[in-house]
C-alpha cells in the first residue's frame, strides 16, 4: 500500500512535468503577447523590449522553460506579470474557496444524485421515476450559467432564503454547490438508477431477502453498497469536470476561487498565473483520482491496489 502510493505519486510527478511542458509550449505559441499587456498602449518599442528582456521572454523556449522549472523545483511559481504578486500566494489565497466549493458540490451531487437514482429505481416506470429522470436530464444538459442564475433568482431574490452570492457563511455555499453539483447529480442519478436496477436483480439481493431481512436492510445493507461502486470511481474524475464548471459558477456567485483567477489570467495572457493554475488543477485532479482509487478498495474489497 505505501509502495502503491509512492508509485502513484511518482507517476503524478511525471504527469505534472508533462503538463507543464505542454502548457508552456502552448502558451508560447499563442499569438497574444503578454509584454504588450504589461507595457500598456503608451509604451514605445524600446520599453516593450526592455520589459521582455526583464521577464526573460526574449530567451529561447527551452531556456525559458528551464528557468520556470528551476523555480518550480524551489517551490516558486513565479510572479504574476500584471499583479506583480507571487502566483503561489494568489493561488493559495483562492484555493480554500475552490476546494470548499468542490466539497460542497460533491456532497450535493452525491446526496441529490444517489437519492434521486435510488427512488427512481425503486419506483421504476412510475410518474415519479419519469419526473426524476427529467430533472436529471435537465441536470446533464442545462448550462451551469443558466442553472446558477435561475437558482439565484428563485431562492435568493424571490424567496430570500439565501444571500445573492458572496462568500464566508454556510448560507453562501449552498446555491453554488448545488449549481456545480447539479450536473454531476444528473449523471449520478442516471448511473445510480441503472446500477440499482441491475443490483436489485442480483442473486445476493435474493439471498438477503431469503434470510428474512427487512426491506430497509436489504436495500441499504446489501443493494446500495454495491450500486454505488461505479459511482465512487467517478468522483475522482469529477474534480476534472468541476474545473471547467468552476469558472462559470464562481463568477455567477462571486465565489473567490481559482476559476476566476484563471479566467482573468487567460484574458490578459498572465502566463505565470495560467501555468500555476494549470499545474495546481492538474495536481488536484491527480490527487482526486488517487483518493478515489484509495477509497475504492475500502468499499469494494475485491479491488486490490497494484
Amino acid at each position: 500500500m505505501p509502495l502503491y502510493i509512492v508509485r502513484r505519486l511518482l507517476e503524478a510527478l511525471l504527469i505534472l512535468f508533462g503538463i507543464s511542458v505542454v502548457t508552456f509550449i502552448l502558451l508560447y505559441l499563442l499569438p497574444a503577447d503578454p509584454v504588450r499587456q504589461i507595457a500598456g498602449r503608451s509604451a514605445t518599442a524600446a520599453t516593450v523590449e526592455s520589459i521582455r528582456h526583464q521577464l526573460g521572454l526574449d530567451l529561447p523556449l527551452p531556456q525559458q522553460y528551464g528557468r520556470y522549472l528551476w523555480g518550480l523545483l524551489h517551490g516558486d511559481l513565479g510572479r504574476s506579470y500584471l499583479q506583480k504578486t507571487e502566483v503561489g500566494a494568489l493561488i493559495w489565497s483562492r484555493l480554500p474557496a475552490t476546494l470548499l466549493l468542490m466539497l460542497g458540490a460533491i456532497v450535493c451531487e452525491l446526496v441529490l444524485g444517489l437519492t434521486m437514482g435510488l427512488v427512481a429505481a425503486l419506483k421504476r416506470g412510475s410518474g415519479l421515476d419519469q419526473g426524476l429522470m427529467l430533472i436529471s436530464f435537465i441536470g446533464v444538459s442545462a448550462p451551469q450559467f443558466v442553472v446558477g442564475i435561475l437558482l439565484l433568482y428563485v431562492f435568493a431574490v424571490q424567496l430570500g432564503w439565501f444571500p445573492i452570492g458572496g462568500y464566508g457563511h454556510f448560507s453562501n455555499l449552498v446555491l453554488p454547490s448545488i449549481t456545480l453539483g447539479f450536473l454531476g447529480a444528473g449523471w449520478y442519478s442516471r448511473m445510480m438508477r441503472s446500477s440499482m436496477i441491475d443490483v436489485l436483480r442480483q442473486d445476493y439481493v435474493r439471498t438477503a431477502r431469503s434470510k428474512g431481512l427487512t426491506r430497509a436492510k436489504v436495500l441499504f445493507g446489501h443493494a446500495v453498497p454495491n450500486a454505488i461502486l461505479p459511482i465512487v470511481a467517478m468522483i475522482g474524475i469529477d474534480i476534472g469536470v468541476f474545473m471547467s464548471g468552476i469558472v462559470v459558477v464562481e463568477s455567477v456567485f462571486g465565489w473567490p476561487g481559482i476559476g476566476q483567477l484563471a479566467w482573468q489570467a487567460i484574458q490578459r495572457v498572465d502566463i505565470p498565473i495560467i501555468m500555476g493554475v494549470t499545474l495546481v488543477s492538474a495536481l488536484a485532479i491527480v490527487i482526486g483520482n488517487l483518493l478515489a482509487d484509495l477509497i475504492a478498495p475500502l468499499i469494494d474489497p475485491r479491488i486490490k491496489l497494484q
Partner: protein
Amino acid sequence: MRRQLMTGVAAAALFALAAGTALSAEPKQGGTMTATFKDDVSTLDPAIGYDWQNWSMIKSLFSRLMDYKPGTTELTPDLAESYAIAPDGLTYTFKLRHGVKFHNGREMTADDVAYSYNRTVDPKTQSPGQGFFKSIAGYDDVVAGKATAMSGIKVVDPYTIAITLAKPDATFLQVVALNFAGVVAKESVAQYGADYGHHPDGTGAFYLDHWTLGQELVLKRNPDYYLKGQPYLDQLSFKIGAEPLTALLQLQKGEIDYAGDGIPPAKFLEVMNDPAQKKLVVQAPQLETSYLTIKTTMKPFDNLKVRQAINMAINKERIVKIINGRADVTNQPLPPGMAGYDKDYKGYSYDPEKAKALLKEANYDSSQSFDLYAYNTDPNPRIAQAIQQDLAAVGMTVAIKSLDQANVIAAGGEPDQAPLIWSGGMGWIADFPDPSDFYAPILGCAGAVKGGWNWALYCNKDIEAMAAKADAMVAPDQAQARADLWKQIFGKIQDDAPWVPVFNEERYTMHSARIGGDPSLFVDPVHVPVNYNYIHATDAQ
C-alpha cells in the same frame, strides 16, 4: 453637492468654505458604500494599475500634483498649492501643500514627488504609464538604464519642485494628474518591494484597511486627509467576483450600493423601463469612441476610395439599435466633450450606392474575402455581423474572427494581419481629457509600428508636424488656438479615412438610494468609474 457651486472656484477654497459654513445641504460624514466588481483588482500600485476597477480606487488612495474638479475635465491643483510655467513653456514649478501626510504618518515632501516620477519611468517598475513622462528632460537616459533619475526634475526645497521638459508639452499638467504620477512613500515601496501593489501607502482620501485577495477590499476614510471635511464616506467595501447579472440582483435587493460593471445588456431595457430603478441610473457620455480600423498598408485598403466606400457602407444607426441605444452615432475620432471635437463636421454619410460606385472606380475585386477581427464578448460579435452585412450589401466579403482581447490586440499590431478590426470592448477611452491622447498612440506614426496600437498603420508626416505644433502650444491663452488646430488635424485624418468612427458609448451607472451625490460624480470622466471622494451616504448620522 450642486454642480454650479463648484465651477470656476478653486476646489480647495470651496471645500474650506463648505466645511466652515456647514450648509444645511451639505452631506454628513459617515456611512459605508459596498460595491462589486467582477474582475479582480490586480494591484493598487499607482505606477502599475491600469484597470477599470482599480483606476478610481488608486485616485482615492493616492494624490497627485494636479487633479480635476469633481465630475468634470477641468484641471485644478491638488497636492500643489499653485504652479507656474516658465515663459519658454519648458519648466513647471509646483509649490506643494504643507502638512500633507502619508497614511504611515510621515509628511510628504518634494523628494517623494521626484522619487515617484522616477520610479514610474524606471524600466524595472514595468509601468504601463512610463511613456506619458517622455517629455521630461532626462527621460530617455532613465529608460535606457543610463541614469536612475531624470535630470529634468529638481527638488528646490521640501515644498517646491521644478520640472524641466525636453520639448514643450501642452498636456504636461494632464500628465501630472494621471494615476501614474501618484505620490508614493519611498520607505513603503522599499519595505514591500514587488508586493507594494497590495500595501499601497499614499496621501489619498482613503487608506487601505484590509484586502482579502480575490474576495474583498476595504478602504477607510483617511482622518488626516488634507482637504478638510472630505471624503464623506467612512468606508468603501469592494466585493470581487460577481457576474454583472448577479451584481444587479444584489443591487436591486439592496445588498450592495453600486455595481461596478454596469447594467448587463440583457437587463438594460428591463431596468430602464422601470421608473423606480431608472431613477437610480445616471447617464453620461463617455470620453470614448468605438471604431472600425482599416489597415491602410494592406491591399486593397491602401486605396483611399476603398476606405471611403467602407465609411459610407456602414449603417451606424442600426448598430446603435443593436446595443439598445446605449451610444450616440459619431462621425469623427474625437468624442464630444473633448477639446477639438467638431460639432459641425459632416463626415461620410451612410450611402451604399455611392460606396458601390467608389468600389467600382477602385476596381475592387469582390471575389476576395478579408478577415474582420472582433473581441468575443457580447455585443461585439453581433456588431461585427452587422458590419459584415453592410459590407456585403456593397459587394465586400468579410469573414468574422471573434477572439480574446489579447489575441485581437496581437493581430492588430501585425502589418499583414487583421485588415479590419472592430474596436468595441477595446475602444479608446481617454487616459486624460486631451485630444493628443487620441492621436499619438492610435493614429500617429509612433503607434504605426509592428506591435503598436495604431491598428490602421496610418502615418501621415504632414499631420505629424501639425500635432507636434499643437503639443507645443502650452500657454493657457493658446488653449483655443490649440483646440482649433486639433480640429483641423482630425478633419484631415478623416479625409484619409483610416477608420470608420461608429459611436461614442454612453455610460450608465446604477447605485442604491442610500448613496447620494451629484449625478456627475457617478459618471466622472476622470475618476472612472465613480469619484469615491465626493459621494456620500444619505443615512449618515
